[in-house]
């Protein structure tokens, strides 16, 4: 991988900082008319998700982080580990439950996810943006609870719990936005 200097900081640029891979979330070039230049940034650690405010002197250089994403299909899980298959070359890999933490509430077998690698190491899994899941349990609607914007909890087949409108019943299939975990509509 090459190097990145502060003038090449963009949103989503990935750098190695203190031995770990970080992504630039925000970058502001700051320079008093008569003073030295800085880059005021917000960076996110791609291993821990920790977000840090960090100001660099303009001109500092960093090793570019070798981050790649591969489309992979989720096959099955033994509870602790998740097995995925590369949809291009059919190779299979196992991903730990820890790395799956954000994705596992949203995916069923055969879901195609974006798996993020740092070199050879899997560091994150992004589920499909929209998923269709069946409600396994939700309280039956009660007459009178028809006011707008009133919601209740529903447990989905993956184990995720989300807020849904009152008219939703167990057994219905719902479309969900996995970025926010919000109910969008009934699946057609």
């Amino acid at each position: 991988m090459g190097t990145i200097d502060t003038s090449e900081f963009r949103k989503k640029a990935k750098i190695i900082f203190e031995g770990q891979p970080w992504i630039i979330v925000e970058n502001d070039f700051v320079k008093p008319g008569k003073g030295q230049a800085f880059n005021r940034t917000k960076i996110k650690n791609l291993l821990t998700g920790r977000v840090l405010d960090k100001t660099f002197k303009s001109g500092e250089t960093f090793e570019e982080a070798d981050i790649s994403t591969v489309s992979m299909q989720y096959l099955y899980s033994d509870g602790a580990r998740y097995t995925f298959m590369n949809t291009q070359n059919y190779e299979q890999i196992e991903i730990s439950g820890e790395v799956m933490e954000d994705a596992s509430p949203w995916i069923l077998e055969n879901a195609v996810c974006e798996v993020m690698f740092w070199g050879e190491k899997v560091i994150g899994v992004v589920p499909p943006t929209f998923v269709d899941l069946v409600v396994t349990y939700t309280e039956p609607a009660v007459r009178g609870d028809t006011a707008n914007n009133v919601t209740k909890k529903a447990k989905m087949e993956t184990g995720a719990e989300i807020n849904v409108p009152f008219f939703i019943e167990s057994g219905m299939k719902l479309k969900i936005d996995t970025r926010t975990g919000e109910y969008l509509q009934r699946s057609s």
């Binding site: 070039f29 003073g35 030295q36 800085f38 005021r40 303009s58």
Partner: protein
């Protein structure tokens, strides 16, 4: 820039020219390309070449600089006996690109003969509010602004104290070579963002080490008669009660070159025409430079100078 923004920008330029015309300040134009550049430790210049003949060999071509400000030419006019003058024109600064920076931008710069810093501060604020409308005005000193924002007096602080104060605010500060570096970092990352967003803020009496070309204050020689004006936390203008002494000008410029060398920047030639003009006699005066694109940006409620430029850098 949208058509509506372009019309508003033109109206602001008109208003500024009216402002100066009504005060008897005369608009001038000075060269954009120059044989010498002003010398600032932290400014990178654009170079160009004059060729006496089409296709002249390298040894006959002459290197010239794009101005980083019209300061030296305007001061030469003052030394030649001109009265109060202003200029609206493009200036060029390399390696500066961001939300509030475009490598070529429009500067409004003016000089008032016989005026001290206080008088020019008043007029600078009047010019800004003529464009932005009535605003709360906050007047403070560099030391006071620091004490309020980080509890440290910049006039007697150490590099370590400033670094510690930055880190205490969750900022991982770089390693600073000098107190000035540390202060500028704290200024840009803590003090400026803490300034009231709805006010026009004047900060005067910068530390003597950041005097640039301002005179040292007679009452407190630790400070210089230099001021900056902010629109909220955005730097708009930088002004000096001007240093007229030719020898001291030369000394400070050589010092800037020494800093440039230590920072890995090229040594720039001294502007002998400028220094000679000062030596012939320079009137007591104060001058200020104001980033016009930023002022227009604030007047139009925009977040970035891109919104008030017809073709920002990446599409120029």
């Amino acid at each position: 820039m949208t058509w509506i923004a372009a019309q508003k920008r033109a109206a602001i330029l008109h208003k500024i020219r009216d402002f100066f015309a009504s005060r008897g300040v005369v608009e001038v134009e000075t060269p954009i390309l120059s044989h010498a550049s002003s010398i600032d430790r932290h400014l990178d210049v654009f170079r160009a070449e004059y060729s006496p003949l089409a296709g002249a060999p390298a040894e006959k071509r002459v290197g010239v600089y794009h101005r980083t400000s019209p300061e030296f030419h305007m001061k030469r006019l003052l030394a030649a006996g001109y009265g109060d003058i202003y200029q609206i024109g493009k200036v060029f600064r390399n390696a500066e690109l961001g939300r509030l920076h475009n490598p070529e931008f429009t500067m409004l710069e003016w000089y008032r003969t016989g005026w001290d810093m206080e008088a020019l501060i008043t007029e600078t604020v009047a010019c800004i509010t003529a464009v932005l409308g009535e605003k709360k005005i906050v007047r403070t000193s560099y030391a006071q602004a620091f004490i309020e924002a980080i509890g440290i007096d910049p006039l007697c602080a150490s590099v370590e104290e400033v670094t510690t104060a930055c880190e205490a605010r969750g900022l991982s500060a770089p390693r600073f070579a000098t107190l000035t570096d540390a202060l500028q970092f704290a200024m840009a990352t803590i003090v400026e963002p803490s300034l009231p967003g709805d006010a026009v803020v004047v900060i005067s009496h910068f530390p003597a080490d950041q005097a640039v070309l301002a005179v040292i204050d007679g009452n407190d020689p630790r400070t210089a008669r230099r001021f900056e004006v902010y629109g909220g936390s955005i730097e708009l203008a930088n002004g000096f009660e001007e240093l007229g002494d030719a020898r001291e000008n030369e000394r400070r410029q050589k010092e800037e070159n020494t800093f440039r060398q230590s920072l890995g920047r090229e040594i720039l030639p001294l502007d002998r025409l400028f220094l000679a003009a000062l030596a012939e006699g320079f009137p007591a005066c104060s001058g200020v430079a104001l980033g016009l694109d930023r002022l227009v940006m604030l007047a139009l409620g925009q977040e970035s100078v891109e919104a008030v430029l017809t073709f920002p850098w990446n599409r120029s």
